[in-house]
């Protein structure tokens, strides 16, 4: 009964998100995110129908739809990068380098350690496979969020809600999937914990995406926007002077 209530609540919240987002500008601003919500909405109905009338096939349907939503969810991360850094080409460039390093490191680890690697063709169990892909997503979001914070990129209420909600969902998925792999008892709670945490995320999204908020545009930078080398030289020379001052202090 409780599972069904949670299920219906989730469907209701997804419908609410779509109703608020589809007619307005939000869907044009975040097309991938709304495609993801639409997919999850259809997926919930499909799963519900299979669970109700073809329960013997539920497991296959669950994992197939789960991986499809995982793939579309990865595209949401790309959308966070695209929308958030549209006006900040410098940070966008840095993000590309860092994401390349992160994905390169993940790929290298998978090649170096194929038995416990991160890629699906090595994974023996669906849980491990999903957990590993969620970790890759978490690393990508961590990289992006670090850059957003370091370069003081303004999020805007809508994007902040999407990042926070999706990041929270990934973090909770990792914890659940990791513990269910090593600590089997969590399977008793999992049917409740996962949907409840997902409900929380949907609630966050519904609140953040209730109305369109402008995505903050980057204003033209100061006089050095066209001369990055000069900017770096200036910063270095200022840091060098500070080093020197600290040196005087310590030498006394």
């Amino acid at each position: 009964m409780l599972t069904m209530t949670i299920w219906w609540l989730a469907i209701l919240l997804e419908a609410l998100l779509l109703v608020r987002g589809l007619p307005g500008k939000l869907v044009r601003q975040f097309p991938i995110f709304y495609s993801y919500i639409l997919f999850v909405f259809v997926e919930e109905f499909l799963r519900f129908s299979v669970y109700r009338w073809f329960s013997s096939h539920y497991s296959q349907v669950y994992w197939i739809t789960q991986f499809l939503s995982l793939v579309i969810g990865s595209a949401v991360i790309f959308e966070i990068y695209r929308v958030g850094l549209r006006s900040f080409p410098g940070t966008a460039r840095m993000a590309r380098y860092l994401l390349l390093i992160v994905f390169g490191a993940v790929f290298a680890k998978a090649l170096a350690n194929p038995s416990g690697g991160l890629f699906w063709w090595f994974a023996k169990r669906s849980l491990v496979l999903e957990r590993n892909l969620r970790i890759v997503q978490a690393l990508a979001i961590l990289t992006l969020v670090s850059l957003f914070l370091w370069y003081a990129i303004p999020f805007g209420r809508n994007l902040k809600g999407i990042v926070f909600g999706y990041g929270l969902f990934i973090a909770m998925s990792i914890v659940q999937l990791t513990l269910s792999y090593t600590w089997g008892d969590i399977r008793l709670f999992w049917p409740y914990v996962q949907p409840v945490s997902y409900l929380l995320v949907l609630g966050l999204w519904a609140s953040a995406l209730w109305s369109v908020q402008p995505v903050p545009e980057g204003k033209p930078a100061m006089q050095l926007e066209d001369d990055y080398e000069v900017l770096v030289a200036s910063t270095r020379s200022q840091l060098r002077r500070t080093f020197a001052r600290l040196g005087w202090a310590v030498r006394q």
Binding site: R93, L149, I174, Y181, M222, V230, S237, L246
Partner: protein
């Protein structure tokens, strides 16, 4: 077991970073850059004079006080000098943060941003913050005069960065461009 801990740690880090986002205030960055630039002029005047630094950390004053042979005077001197030194180091640390903040706010919009240069600046910034933290710790624990070992290290780093500055032409350009905070 080890990998379980690492995976859970990744999830916890992610949640912590997400909470940081929620605290991230949306301020008018352009205004804050200009505010930084104006306050930096004031700070520089207060911080940059070599005489001031020599005075704060001077051993001569301590030796003079020692000659007075007054334990009370020595205690007052130690306490006051420690406060002044801590204030100076903290202001220097804030100045370092301001320099980097201004850099980031401009660099984020630069189309020809160099990831390597950004990484090097980031590590230099970390080193500076670390030295400031160490100075605060040492000043609090042993007083402002217990720092001679750090001197050589800071001096060497300063020279290393000096060599890393790309070319004199760029530096000259900086000097003439009127960037706030440059002489």
């Amino acid at each position: 077991m080890m990998s379980t801990a690492i995976f859970v740690a990744v999830a916890i880090f992610l949640v912590l970073f997400l909470l940081l986002i929620m605290r991230h205030e949306e301020v008018d960055e352009q205004e804050s850059v200009q505010a930084d630039a104006s306050t930096r002029h004031e700070c520089r005047d207060a911080l940059q004079h070599q005489e001031l630094v020599f005075r704060i950390f001077s051993r001569e004053d301590r030796e003079f006080i020692l000659l007075m042979r007054s334990p009370r005077l020595q205690r007052i001197y130690q306490e006051e000098r420690r406060k002044v030194a801590l204030h100076w180091v903290r202001r220097t640390s804030r100045e370092v943060s301001r320099i980097m903040r201004t850099h980031r706010l401009i660099a984020r919009q630069s189309r020809n941003l160099d990831a390597g240069a950004e990484a090097r600046l980031f590590f230099q910034y970390l080193q500076l913050r670390f030295i400031c933290g160490l100075l605060v710790l040492l000043s609090k624990t042993f007083g402002p005069h217990a720092l001679p070992d750090l001197a050589s290290y800071a001096g060497e780093l300063s020279q290393l960065i000096g060599r890393a500055v790309p070319d004199a032409a760029a530096a000259n350009h900086v000097a003439s461009s009127g960037i706030p905070g440059t002489p």
